[in-house]
């Protein structure tokens, strides 16, 4: 018998880190400044956190905390988002993979009305779809990474943009093919930053916004390896202006802005990679990490002897 635990830190302005409602409380909810246990269940999948809401698949179906967002009215969109096969960009655009093509909608309203902006039939065998502020990235089952979005922020697109291969149509990123430690198995994106994790546990990062200071050094349009004390990387997640990484040896590292406590450490200034003093406890192992726009999550698996 196994049990799983969800720990969270950061923005809680909409009580999106409070799964167990005790009573109606008129007090304004406060943010969490370190990783706290927020949910326990025999089965917990990686949560999806929007600005105001957290969704997580459990043994009892999807549990929700926080303020319900408009897009949650659509069960199919909710399912696709939880399966990482749909994503919402900062500019409101929605992309959904339906098994045959990626359909893009300009806004939530257009999605409701079924008005597609673009249909990309070239995108097949999508295993993951992620969004950043002004665009999207998709991963195929063969490990290819596709990007598309607003051409003003070319660093996020990370490939040659031309008349035949415009910024706002998906095309593959050549620099993420034939990597030394195997193909890409996972993507993460938010703000103006994107990450790709390889099967050989290397993490690459690219992106940036020419007018905004980034929170990681030396970020460019060209994917570069994230180096954290020579650790192999097991998992990664990105928020609006912070990121969380899980190393193969079980360490959780965070970087970026801590305005809402999303780094899970006691610092007021922007921080480079710092190890979070988080322990999964006896018999526990961290299985994955996740980010909302302004909060962070850690999932722990416990064996029965320590329940």
């Amino acid at each position: 018998m196994k049990s799983m635990e969800l720990y969270a830190t950061g923005n809680n302005a909409w009580s999106q880190l409070t799964f167990e409602k005790t009573e109606d409380n008129l007090e304004e909810p406060i943010d969490l400044n370190s990783f706290q246990l927020v949910l326990k269940d025999p089965v917990l999948e990686r949560p999806y956190a929007s600005l105001a809401c957290t969704l997580v698949n459990t043994s009892n179906g999807v549990r929700t905390a926080g303020f319900p967002e408009d897009w949650m009215h659509s069960q199919s969109l909710k399912d696709q988002i939880l399966a990482s096969l749909a994503a919402i960009a900062g500019n409101g655009a929605i992309a959904v993979y339906d098994g045959e093509a990626v359909k893009q909608y300009q806004s939530g309203l257009h999605f409701q009305q079924g008005k597609t902006q673009s249909v990309f039939t070239s995108l097949r065998d999508v295993s993951q779809l992620v969004a950043y502020e002004t665009g999207f990235a998709a991963l195929s089952t063969t490990g290819q990474v596709w990007t598309w979005g607003d051409g003003r922020y070319e660093a996020c697109i990370s490939r040659e943009v031309s008349d035949t291969s415009p910024a706002d149509e998906p095309a593959t990123v050549p620099e993420l093919e034939d990597l030394p430690t195997g193909k890409v198995k996972k993507l993460a994106a938010a703000g103006y930053l994107l990450m790709a994790l390889t099967e050989g546990s290397d993490l690459y990062v690219w992106g940036g916004h020419p007018g905004l200071p980034g929170f990681l050094d030396d970020i460019s349009a060209s994917p570069s390896p994230v180096v954290i004390e020579d650790h192999d990387i097991a998992d990664c997640a990105i928020g609006q202006s912070h990121a969380v990484v899980l190393t193969m040896s079980g360490g959780v590292y965070t970087a970026g802005t801590n305005a809402n406590g999303q780094l899970g450490i006691a610092t007021e200034t922007d921080s480079p990679w710092v190890r979070v003093p988080f322990s999964p406890g006896p018999g526990g192992a961290i299985t994955s990490v996740a980010c909302g726009l302004r909060n962070s999550f850690v999932i722990v698996q416990k064996d029965s002897h320590h329940m």
């Binding site: 900062g90 607003d150 020419p210």
Partner: protein
């Protein structure tokens, strides 16, 4: 009195914000309509609810309850940064107005909170209070950010609310300032600019106050002077534009020497006096956007927001600074140029708007673009006003505009050179750069080609660059142009499509009127 009025004004706004949000949230539960999506609800119900909650917390605030005010301040910053991040997601013209309103309303609540905290700190609720300089600066900045970044959007409050709040704040502030014998206040008394007891902090009347330095480090020669006229009647100007000597070219540039003689900015409300400008900008606390760097096509050029006082003291006229002597030791080349350029300053500061008049000549029907009708814009109801204020050496590179322009020189001197639209092909227009259309700007650098600007020693041009520069110099050599030095009080008529290069020679303050 004004202070108490201001607090009430803020409380009314908080109440109104809460009501507007709650009505929208209620409406969203019962129906979903495209109209609702265009309201604040476009930001999503979660943010509308968060804003409403903060307005409601503000209404219930009790003095000295710091844990509540800390959380409130944080949540307002959250809303500000969330909405501000959307300003980058969209081109400004595509930015949905609800994001600008959310930012503006959060600024209004933040202003209220700051005012509340200031009251709480001084324990004053007597209808008067003394505002500390840093508090005042923060209050002014909060509303200026709403004006400059978000265009103070919103139907119920918006620009009108922000303007009135600033007026009341000014009234509250000046009522606590010591008065001079003649009843005029000395708003600069506590301002940083006058800390060390220079002439600005001494009792002064407007006329004897110091003017900006008229020093011109460099004066280019005028080779093909533009004709100078005394003001024309509207009819004569219309006739001038309708019957050009070259019908392919249309009307040509002119200078009017006495069009603005009656402007308060040139007489009773002198813009040439730092003292006066400071009195109209909260002792220099108002925030303005400036361009830093020689010219907007240069490497390292950038835009930032600074206070008007900093602009005056650190960039426009260092002789105003109490530390002037120490500063003059530094090489002037190490100092960056700041230029308040193409900013609707007079919309942001209505007090200065009253010092000028829209020239009657703008109420004419000028001809369309002489060579390229695709440049013609939809007719504007009112002329578009922009302010241009900077130290000697500011440069606006060779470019053209899609409007007819009256450029009024209010303070100081400017050199302007113009090439006609018939020579557009020789102007080497730029293309799209980093996703931004630069086709109205020439790649020719008049200052460099004429040898007026020397490249910095560490930026010597490569042989390739030298060769291309030499080629351009030859290409431009035989292209005819007209030029002039605008004196204070001069008005230059720049017809639509004419390429112009503008160079500030001294401290210079100009206002441009675009019309069609």
């Amino acid at each position: 009195m004004a202070y108490r009025q201001l607090l009430q004004f803020c409380q009314d706004a908080a109440h109104q914000i809460r009501q507007e949000c709650d009505e929208l949230l209620l409406a969203a539960e019962t129906k979903s309509s495209p109209q609702l999506q265009q309201s604040l609800l476009g930001c999503g119900p979660a943010l509308v609810s968060l804003l409403s909650r903060q307005a409601s917390v503000l209404a219930r605030l009790e003095l000295r309850d710091t844990s509540t005010t800390d959380l409130l301040a944080k949540r307002l910053e959250d809303i500000l940064s969330i909405s501000y991040s959307k300003f980058y997601c969209f081109l400004f013209k595509d930015l949905p107005v609800y994001w600008r309103q959310l930012y503006t309303d959060a600024c209004i609540l933040k202003f209220h909170l700051l005012l509340f905290q200031a009251t709480s700190a001084t324990g004053s609720d007597q209808g008067t209070m003394f505002l500390d300089e840093p508090v005042l600066a923060e209050l002014v900045k909060t509303l200026d950010l709403a004006l400059i970044l978000a265009g103070a959007a919103g139907e119920q409050r918006g620009r009108i609310w922000v303007g009135k709040a600033l007026d009341l704040l000014h009234e509250a502030w000046t009522s606590t300032q010591p008065e001079n014998d003649d009843g005029s206040v000395r708003p600069t008394k506590r301002a940083k600019l006058a800390e060390k007891g220079d002439e600005l902090s001494a009792p002064v009347d407007m006329l004897s106050a110091a003017s900006f330095s008229t020093f011109q480090p460099f004066t280019p020669p005028v080779e093909n002077p533009i004709p100078r006229h005394r003001a024309m009647s509207v009819e004569a100007f219309q006739t001038y534009m309708d019957s050009p000597s070259d019908s392919n070219l249309g009307p040509e540039p002119l200078i009017f020497t006495d069009l603005v003689e009656e402007w308060p900015a040139r007489t009773t409300h002198p813009w040439c006096k730092p003292f006066y400008l400071l009195s109209r900008t909260f002792g220099g606390h108002r925030l303005v956007p400036v361009e830093i760097g020689r010219s907007y096509v240069d490497e390292g050029w950038g835009q930032k927001l600074i206070t008007f006082g900093t602009l005056l003291q650190d960039y426009i006229d260092p002789s105003l600074s109490p530390d002037h002597v120490a500063q003059s030791d530094k090489s002037p080349a190490s100092k960056q140029i700041a230029y308040l350029a193409q900013h609707p300053l007079l919309t942001q500061l209505p007090a200065l708007r009253n010092d000028i008049r829209i020239p009657d000549l703008c109420y004419t029907s000028p001809p369309p673009h002489p060579t390229d009708s695709s440049k013609d814009q939809p007719e504007v109801d009112e002329p578009m006003l922009n302010a241009w204020f900077g130290p000697p050496g500011t440069i606006t590179p060779l470019h053209n505009d899609p409007y007819h322009n009256l450029l009024v020189q209010v303070v100081g001197h400017k050199y302007v050179r113009l090439y006609s639209p018939l020579h557009t092909e020789q102007m080497h227009a730029r293309g799209k750069e980093d996703g931004v259309e630069m086709g109205n700007t020439s790649s020719l650098d008049v200052g460099a080609l004429e040898g007026w600007d020397r490249p910095a020693e560490d930026q010597q041009p490569s042989p390739d660059e030298q060769a291309s520069e030499e080629m351009m110099r030859k290409a431009l050599k035989d292209v005819p142009y007209v030029d002039c030095i605008l004196n204070p009080g001069d008005t230059l008529y720049i017809p639509i499509g004419w390429w112009h290069y503008v160079r500030g020679l001294s401290v210079s303050f100009s206002v441009s009127f675009w019309w069609n």
